[in-house]
């Protein structure tokens, strides 16, 4: 499933034992960027990531009573994010199996060292792909080539470039599950 794990990022403050949030604004300020990034990695675009982040925050904040322990709030945010993202894939693309996988995704979410970079994982994954698959994804996603430019660069038709891209993405998804976990 998703290429990038639920990685911690954008978390502005540490999570000291016993710390509490006393109002929704502090929950928002502390977590909005991390939630947005988590959403972006699952939807791949800013408009949907914004909607998902907002929905995650509203669902979480509507159920909280303050003061609320920081650790509990963050765990709940990640759990809610999984549920909202599963809904997103179900409603937008009628996807069921992705939903099941999302709901079983790791729960660390917002709670680790903040400097893991999604691009490192992507680079590791690309390196595992066969040459042609690696090439098409690198050109398209990391170098910003259009399908036409990819086709020209690789000496194939545009239709073949689209098929190659599709197969490469499927292989990447499979490898991510099998090798990177």
């Amino acid at each position: 499933m998703g290429l990038i794990e639920l990685r911690p990022s954008g978390r502005p403050e540490p999570d000291p034992e016993g710390a509490v949030y006393t109002d929704w604004e502090s929950v928002y300020q502390d977590n909005v960027v991390g939630i947005y990034q988590l959403a972006f990695r699952r939807v791949g675009n800013a408009a949907d990531a914004e909607d998902v982040a907002e929905e995650v925050l509203i669902r979480t904040l509507n159920t909280l009573r303050f003061p609320a322990p920081v650790h509990n709030v963050r765990s709940y945010l990640v759990k809610t994010a999984r549920s909202v993202l599963a809904d997103h894939w179900r409603r937008h693309y009628a996807v069921q199996n992705t939903v099941a996988e999302l709901e079983q995704a790791p729960a660390e979410g917002l709670a680790g060292p903040p400097n893991t970079v999604a691009s490192e994982r992507a680079q590791r994954l690309l390196a595992l792909l066969p040459d042609q698959f690696h090439r098409v994804l690198e050109l398209r996603f990391l170098r910003g080539y259009s399908v036409r430019e990819v086709a020209r660069e690789m000496g194939v038709t545009e239709a073949n470039a689209r098929v190659l891209q599709f197969r490469a993405l499927r292989k990447a998804a499979t490898l991510e599950q099998e090798v990177l976990g």
Binding site: A49, P114, A122, A127, L142, Q165
Partner: protein, 225 residues
């Protein structure tokens, strides 16, 4: 007519890479698998997953509207100092190539930052990291070795390099091309391409970024790393 799985996924990818919200459709499991991988790769572009301030403003505004009437947080809302600027989505334009291809890996070594703010790794040597053509004016390029993370920038034709690690708590900096700065995703701190602190919301000012020695030889940008 676009009706094959490859075409539908290609349209999805095209939307992601153009920064558009993809159209809804009923995806097969194979398509969904590919689309999910595509979403992850789209997010892996440097800076792509950082929200811009306008998005944060919208989220905050809608939360305030909905939560002000909520009994769960009744009376709790106080308008705080507004979040300052984060990296923008335009940072996705940053060149994020696979530098592992061009930087020879070095063994672990000590990093020395001299009084003049230059980081010089023990056992460092000049290594090519990119051609000058790959780094047009106003662009930045991130790279990593086993010993350090760095950002090479072309600041109005002048090529230089600084550490890519925030001097506060060690988060990896995100180049923000639109604002011509390096933004820390953790604590709302930003540095100029020169390494100077631009702004911060911390109790004390963080140190400027250490600089890394750079030069251009035969059209290749080389760093002492």
């Amino acid at each position: 007519m676009k009706n094959s799985a490859a075409d539908r996924v290609a349209q999805f990818v095209e939307d992601l890479l153009k920064g558009r919200r993809p159209r809804r459709f009923e995806a097969t499991p194979d398509e969904a698998e590919a689309m999910s991988a595509a979403a992850g790769l789209a997010a892996a572009r440097v800076g792509a997953d950082l929200p811009d301030k306008a998005a944060l403003d919208r989220i905050h505004g809608r939360l305030a509207q909905r939560l002000d009437d909520s009994p769960a947080v009744e009376g709790r809302y106080s308008r705080r100092v507004w979040l300052r600027t984060f990296g923008t989505a335009a940072a996705a334009a940053v060149i994020g190539v696979a530098i592992d291809e061009v930087v020879t890996r070095t063994g672990p070594g000590t990093q020395i930052v001299a009084a003049d703010g230059v980081l010089t790794p023990d056992g460092g040597q000049w290594r090519p990291v990119a051609s000058v053509e790959q780094l047009p004016a106003g662009q930045a390029m991130t790279f990593s070795t086993e010993t350090l993370d760095a950002v090479v920038v072309n600041d109005g034709g002048k090529i230089s390099a600084v550490s890519g690690i925030c001097t506060h708590l060690g988060c990896k900096l995100q180049p923000d091309i639109a604002e011509q700065r390096l933004s820390c995703p953790c604590h709302q701190t930003a540095f100029a391409f020169s390494g100077k602190v631009l702004f911060y919301r911390l109790k004390a000012a963080p140190a400027d970024l250490p600089r890394i020695q750079s030069r251009v030889r035969d059209g290749q940008i080389e760093l002492f790393v």
